[in-house]
Subunit: 136 residues, 2 copies
């Protein structure tokens, strides 16, 4: 089954030397949401964490020989691509959890960026943890 | 920017009366990954949590009047769609965190299902928390 999505916005950051993963990132940036979707941000507050789903738009086309990869920080151990956060995967979809610093209009200033400047955003969701399900 | 994805597998569950969210779900099911991607599961272990990214394949086409919604469990408060986990969103992409019970070949038995029988899976990732970044 095929699913076609349209970006709802774009990641902006001045950082060029990005950390390998959001969980080890303090990099700041801005999520610029297309004006037509700005109303969809209502209720997002500074201090909250949000999940950003995005496209790895610079990844080359996936080839099956990469179903197993050796992530550089895993002592060269071979892992299935679905056991890794590699940007090189069958569907080029990425996920980062970032902290909201400020919301103004259609722009969200955030900390925790590991996406490149210009990354197309596909969705934003609240970051729900099992312990605080009522926030969902 | 447009992104086209192909499902990599399908959610199976016998449950028909599903909880509203994975964070309050004990429902069991199976993620059946297409055989051509089975190698990509290498290293996924029982007891781990995984993130499943899927398509809300039964959601109707999004209309801009739904940029704000009133989630039933939020006292009727109006929220921007990106502040909610509503299945009715600009890109019909869902995210659930489930617990791995067993892996056999191209099938992962899991607990925590909130997706309907037949839901197309787009990606599986490790569930990384900020505190344990080395698992990424």
């Amino acid at each position: 089954m095929q699913v076609t999505m349209q970006s709802i916005g774009t990641v902006h950051t001045e950082a060029r030397d990005l950390p390998r993963h959001w969980s080890v990132s303090d990099v700041k940036g801005t999520l610029e949401i297309d004006a037509e979707y700005a109303q969809g941000l209502t209720g997002i507050q500074p201090g909250e964490e949000i999940v950003v789903i995005f496209s790895f738009h610079e990844s080359p086309e996936f080839k099956s020989k990469s179903l197993q990869q050796r992530p550089p920080h895993m002592n060269g151990e071979k892992k299935g691509v679905f056991r890794t956060c590699s940007p090189y995967r069958p569907n080029p979809v990425g996920l980062s959890v970032v902290e909201v610093l400020a919301v103004h209009g259609n722009r969200i200033d955030v900390r925790g960026i590991d996406m490149r400047e210009g990354t197309p955003i596909l969705d934003i969701k609240p970051h729900v943890k099992k312990e605080e399900a009522s926030a969902a």
